[in-house]
Structure formats: structure tokens, C-alpha cells
Assembly symmetry: C2
Homo-oligomer: 260 residues x 2
Amino acid sequence: MPSAADPPNDRKRIQAVQTTLDIIDTLRERGIAGVTEIATEIGVSKGTVYNHLVTLEENDYVVKDEDDRYHLGLRFIDVSHQATSRVPILELAKTEVDKLAEKSDEMALFTVEEHGMGVCLYVAYGDQAVQTPLYVGHRSELHHTAVGKAILAHLPRERVEAIIDQRGLTKQTEHTITDRETLFEQLEEVRKRGLAFNEQETIHGLVGVGAPIKDQDGSVLGALSIIGPSSRLDEERFQRELPDMIMRSVNIIEINSTSL
Amino acid sequence: MPSAADPPNDRKRIQAVQTTLDIIDTLRERGIAGVTEIATEIGVSKGTVYNHLVTLEENDYVVKDEDDRYHLGLRFIDVSHQATSRVPILELAKTEVDKLAEKSDEMALFTVEEHGMGVCLYVAYGDQAVQTPLYVGHRSELHHTAVGKAILAHLPRERVEAIIDQRGLTKQTEHTITDRETLFEQLEEVRKRGLAFNEQETIHGLVGVGAPIKDQDGSVLGALSIIGPSSRLDEERFQRELPDMIMRSVNIIEINSTSL
DNA sequence: GAACGCTGTTTAGCACACCTGAACACTTAA
DNA sequence: TTAAGTGTTCAGGTGTGCTAAACAGCGTTC
């Protein structure tokens, strides 16, 4: 009997695999790390970490440098290529995001949903674009971004409830929506307008506009957005100009993807 | 005592992790697969595969679709982002590869070595470029490509020996070098000329030119190459024009990277 | 429509694989 | 030299991740 004291969630299925994934996650956060460092981080013995790292290295998933420190291997790129190929509209979205970034001079991105998280699949920077800690592959919660709310607004309510239950409504800034009902009310507006806004809900001083891309059945395939500093985006630009540009791009993608 | 009958290589360290990595590899090859399919592929029981998949899914590394079939998750992109950031000259190489592709009208690429394999980190297509099954993240053996030989030529001999021992000299076409001594002779020429050629050694009808990028210590950071159909690349182009273009790009990268 | 054949899922139970803790070899610093 | 680090190895027992079989749901087929 496991002392009936496991944390609220289900027991993890395969402990050894969980340990390996924890090691990978530690390496992802730190970039480079040694055996002892990882062992204390994830709370297992040094010997265990060592054996896992050897197994991962034999499979080219990690690389050991000359100082016996470990980092992630390039094999992950190979694997992620296959993962990416499951998103058929990606190529269309890329050309549109490039156009949006160029025309707006701001930062533009294409994001899809997976497991209740937003995953950024493409970014383009306009001439005046802000620098944010955003990269292809970046995962973020859905409730505090423009793309996120654009996507949530077009998922079945039960699905949204499940996502909130799993991921919560963590507060990023004082403008982040942390109340369930407030969120659902705003999602209703997003649905009416076909547009979602992020008004400093993720990072202070940063705003964004986003719109969902849907297939012929009405289910969301992803979302486009433009992000910029609140100082530069006055009412006219933020409420008219940029939304119009996004909607035009969304249209192009939707038309071209149905013809596939 | 393990019956002294393990295959020639070392026993695998952690079996459970190895199983999970085999599952990931199966999904990478097939794109999408069911529990039974994977189980027969890698030779373990259905229950085992199921438990592994649940663990992987809880960590967002795989996704289950509505038909109970599994595919790789986008989380791999996040991980590979960190893996990629370890290659500092990548951004420089990208702009040069773009230039090469545009000027040559052929396909150009940037490749680095890891664990004795070549990993393609960037591709660009010129207007006339051939379509090859090549993508960012693609791994290939070093002995039958232009980039591969360019890199091998500038590694210590013992390192090259070790790589051959591990990966072998598999025959891709009738032109592939499969003899150890012949390879070392050609690497000597590559070193003299600063250029490597692939004359239909990977795919019949496909040729390539490549050159290594080195740091101030003389160790290789990667390689650039141009690939095209043998029909289009006559002597003049293949032996002078393209090599000159590549060498110029290599120079630019080397100069700009030392200033970092 | 019931029996089949195919899924993915669940369960029982046991061998053994994976963890831990400590010892080891080695480098760097004091 | 000593000490405090590191990564690596090892013995050993516990608990875990295997296997095999049964279960539950689908479609298809006869």
C-alpha cells in the first residue's frame, strides 16, 4: 500500500520514463548540466541519472562534452520534423505571417493548440518588432494571449472547462483574466467579433490582436496574431488597421486550405 | 549471469527508457500508429506499449487522436529549440545558404556533425532546385556526402576511425566509397583542396560540392554544400563556379564568427 | 443479429530491472 | 597533502515494469 499519500493527480505510469523525461526537461531549461546538478534538481540518486544519460546518449538524444557535462542532442530536431508535418496549413501560414510582419512592422506569429496549450509554430519580425522571449516551439497558456483566446473561443465549452481544470488560470500581470466567468464572457465577445485582444495580459506593456483559422467544419486549425508595444499601438491601428490585415490573411489561408 | 549471449554491443542501460525511445522512433517513421502496431514492431507486449504511451502523453510528448491512434507531440519542437541554440553560427549560415541557393538556382544546405552523423540544420531551394527527401533535422552518414567528407577530412584520424567502426561504410549507390583506405585517400585530397565532392555517391544522378567551416583553432563547426542533378552540373560549373561561391560564403561565416 | 476479428484498455502476479547508497577514480582548489 | 568537488561503478534488495490473459467496444461478415 503506497501510504495513501500520493499527490492528488494519478500515479505516474512508468517511473523510469518519467525520470528520463524529467532529465530532458532539466536539460531544456538549463541548456547544459552535469550529473550531480540534475540529480539534485529532480531528486534521484546520481547513479540513476548517470544510467539514464548513458541510455539517452547511446540513442543520440543527449551529447556529452569534453567536461563531462551533458546537453540535448540534435536528434530532437529530426523527431520534431515529423511532429510538425502533422500541421498541413503551416506553409500557407508562414507566407502570411511573413506578410503581416512586413506590412505591420511588428512581430507576427502562427500558433496552434495542443493538449490545452498554445504552441508557436512560426514567428516573423517586422522592422520595428519588439524582442520577446518567443521562439518556434514556445508553449504558453491559452487564457492570457490573443491567439489563445481566439482558439478557446471556438472550442466546445466542455473542452475549455477541461483545459482550465488542467492548466488553471495563472496570473501573469494585473490584467490577466483569472476568473472563469469573466473569461467565458470575453470568449463570447471574441466569437461575435471574430477577433481576440491581449491587453497587457501576458507581459506589461505588450498588446496583441489575433484571429482564428477555421476549416469548413468550423473547428479551429490555429490562429494568427500581431504583437507590439502598447505605446505604439493607438486605437485606430489596434482596433482597425491590424485586425483588417489579419482577417485578410486568415481568409487567404482558409480559402487555400479548403482547396487542398 | 546473462547467458553470455547478448549481441556484440553493450547491454542497454535502462530497458524501460530504451523501449520508450523505440516507441518514439516508430512514431517518427510511421507518423501515426496504434498500440498493437507499435507492439509488434518493437517486440514487446501491448500492455507495455500502452503504459509507455500514457506516460509520454501525460508529458505532452505524444498525442492521441479520436481514433485511439498516436502521433508525436509538438513538445519536441520546444526541446529541439534548446538543442539548436547550441550552434552559434547557425544564423550566419542561414543567410549564406539563402544566398547560395539564390545565386546557384540549386539546393543549398548547412550541416553539422554530431555523434558521427551529419545533421542538416538549414536548407534553401533555388528556382531550379531538385526535390530530395531532405529536411531540417535530417541525419545522414558522413562517408557518402559532400558535407560529410568535408567534415571528416578535418577531424582527427582516430575520431574518423571510431566513427567508421560505429557507423560502418554502407553502400548507397555503386559510387559510394565502401573501402576504408580509399576513403582516407580521398579525405587527404579534400584537405588539400579545401573542398569535397559527392559524385552520385548518395543518390544516382545527384552530385554535390561542400566545404568545411572552421574556427580559429582549425576544428570544424559545420559545412556548406550545394546539391544538384548531374545532368545540369557540367565540369566548369561543378569544379569552379559553385566551389567559388561556397568558399566565399565560408569565408564570410568564418570571419564573422571569430568576431563574436 | 450473433459471432467473429480487430482494436485499446485493464488486471494479476512474479522475475528481474531499476533504484539507492556507498565506494571508487579522478580533477581542481586550498 | 588534504579536501571537496566531480563522474563512474558496484552490490543488493525492493518495488516496478514487464507478460499474458481477460475485458470492453467497435466494425465487418456471415
